[in-house]
Amino acid sequence: MVDVPFDTVAGIPPAEVGEVDLYHPKSWWTRYVFSQDAKVIAIQYSITAMSIGMVALVLSWLMRLQLGFPGTFSFIDPNQYLQFITMHGMIMVIYLLTALFLGGFGNYLIPLMVGARDMVFPYVNMLSYWVYLLAVVVLVSTFFVPGGPPGAGWTLYPPQAILSGTPGQDWGIILMLASLILFIIGFTMGGLNYVVTVLQARTRGMTLMRLPLTVWGIFTATVMALLAFPALLVASVMLLLDRLLGTSFFMPTLVEMGQLTKYGGGSPILFQHLFWFFGHPEVYIVALPAFGIISDLISVHARKNIFGYRMMVWAIVAIGALSFVVWAHHMYVSGMHPYFGFFFATTTLIIAIPTAIKVYTWVLTLWRGDIHLTIPMLFALAFIVTFVNGGLTGLFLGNVVVDVPLSDTMFVVAHFHMVMGIAPIMAVFGGIYHWYPKITGRMLNEVLGRFHFWVSFLGAYAIFFPMHYLGLLGMPRRYHDIGETAFVPASAHDLNAFMSVAALIVGFAQLVFLFNLVWSLFKGKEAGGNPWGAASLEWQTPETPPGHGNWGKELPIVYRWAYDYSVPGAAGDFVPQNEPPAGLLAQGAGP
């Protein structure tokens, strides 16, 4: 917006961070390993998240092989299938997406986009990564302990999760809970950093209403995560106590394999409330950063300001707030009081309104734009398609009575993969293709990129769109084999086989992507400082990749929002945020 308060800008004394405040590396170790530079931490987070994500991807192949060709793979038994879904789900949601969006994109982009030299607490930021790494190591260790990883589903519902009818109730569940507790500790350290940095370390002129939407998305998601993770933390601690010390927080009087246990008086539903009080906001913790990233990608690559910026910001904040009062829509058939259904269905469908507004602003940003079909733009388009598709099926599941036949079927699996699996992953890819040149100084290979895009987008759609209809038919989720079931026609098995083949092809395309990441590091085209002609601050750094401290001698001063594209009368088709207005220089009021 051009409502720049020039005078106030000139009036603020330069907020300069002295050299002493930066913890410059003294050796190779402190530069690359125990680094306190948010950009290095971001890369560490991203590499760790993508590595563990590969494990989840391989697990998805195994599950799809089993579902598509039941009985063919003797090495996958029912217990293992349950362990695979549990580890796959948990890794994808928490250790991949949450860590990548907040720890990866957040660390890299927040300081650069708000014009700061680094996060405000660099040492804590470093610790955050190392605790996260420890959490991942503990998680992976479950594959090697007696009994293997937990098989209780990623929701870990008690009593089942800690009783002997479930695989991994021995060591697996204990380590999983320990790993979650570590993750939350690590995240809290990082999260406080992101929030305080956005609130306190913005450069001169960077008002909140001039922040790029990526920062708004990551910021709001972080605030939500700081409020939501504690619920998971206490649930994990209580479940651990039930398992280890025989307390009965979640355990009523019950029989285990014909034997009466010592448990008594606890409530399994309490766990579900705690879990989903975290779990629903978690959906938006991965969605809001994606919203922000997509907004910025569309704006840059359509050379047009984001339509309705203020509406966008309010929609992000409204979604963030509302998402704390909808959690029980995951529990419509849990046996909670049926009257809760009225309340939670209403709040859930209300969230659809700000969410729809976001979609409108994206497509209206395309309208009358100058659309460059670059790879980031393609991923942004794919994001909109998959997100709209998954968001709309959310209206089925949110509308309590419609949820009754569909809950716990493959319809749900299809829905959440579309909306919080595929769509955010599209945003991750779009973001990586977009910012890779800033991070490495080189472009990712275009041909490999386009191949990766088309296979991933169309392939993922081919896996998950038809899956809804198997759920509608009545196929439950978490079944390793539907077997002979009267209402399931033979053709449904063919469809399953088709989806499995598509999943393998999509998986292969991810290997091409990884290859591209490595190959382009050495052989990619030189990018220069601002290959896309983007206006936001991270593209205006004096060096590419930016050095420690980001800005060289002086912090940038911001004069406008991040979306001055194709401004009438301006010479180029974008004006960087830190470019002083013409009049200001003439008056000599500039820096």
Partner: protein, 277 residues
């Protein structure tokens, strides 16, 4: 150009798949046709939105694709448009929510003449209990579970003596009579799910949950467990047989009551099965 066409094809293929693919819900066998209608309505509204958004995107890509000399328009905001879109969305959402809540109200309001039927889940099998001549079910408690009393029924409760207990067998129901299904578990969560009835609800150890429905056609329907309950979750099956009154009563005659089952002579005949099938 290619991108616009592919986007269009995605929209067309999705609609075509919806209309022509053979995978659809099972023929209804209960009174919950309202649920099906609400789903159909939701499909129409959401389908229209999906197609509109994707087609609009395809149009934009086609029409505003970068060419030499093209410059994007500069329009940061349009209050009126934003306002109209919000109101339109709110109306669409209300059109789905309102009927949904009305039907939910019916779903949670059990008619007075519904008969109680108890379904008990345990790893990994189903048991059933029907009230005897007194029309009432006796109390139960997980602490009472034993090989002689696998459902944990209270032997001191007079209401329970004549309860009919069905173990390792199918449940029979008379067609056209509303039933209130009382759901109970003695170990972990389960979920009594018959796709043709459309209804489902978790069973929780320590509480009794419920739902109601009226079977509307005779036949044999498969029972599945819809809440993960451990290793043999997928094999936890049973059947519900809906039949005419006469056949139902003939079946009922042959069933045994709790008192009969727990008298010393008949204990030996009850085979108690643990573990998976």
């Amino acid at each position: 150009m290619a991108v616009a066409i592919i986007l269009l094809l995605v929209a067309i293929a999705s609609v075509a798949f919806h209309l022509f693919s053979p995978w659809w819900w099972t023929p209804l066998a209960s009174n919950w046709s309202y649920i099906d209608h609400t789903i159909t309505l939701t499909f129409w509204i959401t389908g229209a939105v999906f197609v509109a958004v994707v087609v609009f995107m395809a149009y934009c890509v086609l029409r505003f694709h970068h060419k030499e000399g093209r410059r994007a328009a500069y329009n940061p905001e349009n209050k009126r448009l934003e306002w109209w879109l919000s109101v339109g969305t709110a109306i669409g959402v209300a059109a789905m929510l309102a009927p949904g809540l009305v039907v939910w109200h019916q779903f949670v309001t059990v008619p007075a003449d519904a008969t109680d039927v108890e379904v008990m889940g345990q790893q990994w099998q189903w048991s059933y209990r029907l009230p005897g001549k007194d029309g009432r079910l006796g109390t139960s408690d997980a602490r009472l579970v034993s090989p002689d009393n696998p459902m944990g029924l209270n032997p001191d409760d007079p209401n329970g003596k004549d309860d009919i207990v069905v173990q390792n067998d199918d449940l029979h129901l008379p067609v056209g009579k509303p039933v209130k299904v009382l759901l109970r578990s003695i170990d972990v969560l389960h979920d009594f799910y018959v796709p043709e009835f459309r209804a489902k609800m978790d069973m929780i150890p320590g509480s009794v949950t419920y739902y109601w429905f009226t079977p509307t056609r005779t036949g044999t329907f498969e029972v599945l467990c819809a809440e993960l309950c451990g290793a043999a979750h997928a094999q936890m099956r049973s059947k519900v047989i809906v039949e005419e009154d006469k056949e139902y009563h003939a079946w009922l005659e042959k069933q045994r009551t709790f008192a009969e089952l727990s008298s010393p002579r008949s204990v030996a005949k009850v085979i108690y099965k643990t573990g998976s099938e």
